[in-house]
Amino acid sequence: MEGASAVGLPCDIVASPIELERLIAAVRTDACGAVVAFLGVVREFADDDRAVDGLSYEAYPEMALPELQAIAAEASQRFGEARVAVVHRTGALALGDASVAVAVASKHRAVAFDACEYVIDELKRRVPIWKKEHYRDGEASWRANAGGSPARA
């Protein structure tokens, strides 16, 4: 498949709402028979069942962006050739808002599924972005990903 590199494909950390359709349009080419997309969305109950009012995300952009680009480049070759786009949003998000979107296009579907899942898994583990949950009772707390804190370097 031509154009499998991440060059020119969206790979970004943004403050504005995420448009999944734009990502999907960007990764598609006539060589691709499969598109897989992932959307992470603010849900109403936290893992401990507390009612959520919204989330806020912050990033270390000078480190997060290169790491995101590295993950996209890895995903675009690791399972077969794939075209990968990924965008993470920061700032204050309300219920139902998308915090992250990944779109992958490939010739065959298995590659697209694997690459899409790889991107979101690695993003959670490796990209310096932080999430604060704001609860309906007025409290808030920072929440770490499983695997987001391995033995320190």
Binding site: Y57, E62, R125, R126, P128, K132, W142, R143, G148, R152
Partner: protein
């Protein structure tokens, strides 16, 4: 050098960036000790905190330079 603090660590320090003067030969570990002395609430966070120098993870033994930008990072929560 410049310290960039994020998330809970930013809240403890009360600023997203700070300038620290450390003696010649100071390591990432000495920078952390200096921060923890000023902000004792950081002490229990040590084992889960990672440091980055100029955008790349560093070990605690790394010797820092004057112009370095040091990110002080609690566990990630993106996604």
């Amino acid at each position: 050098m410049t310290v960039l603090a994020f998330a809970r660590i930013r809240e403890v320090i009360g600023a997203s960036s700070a300038t620290l003067e450390l003696p010649e030969g100071a390591t990432a570990a000495s920078l952390w000790r200096e921060l923890a002395e000023r902000h004792p609430e950081l002490v229990p966070l040590e084992s889960s905190t990672r440091l980055a120098r100029n955008g790349a993870l560093v070990e605690r033994g790394a010797v820092l330079s004057d112009g370095d930008e040091i990110g002080v990072m609690p566990p990630f929560g993106g996604g």
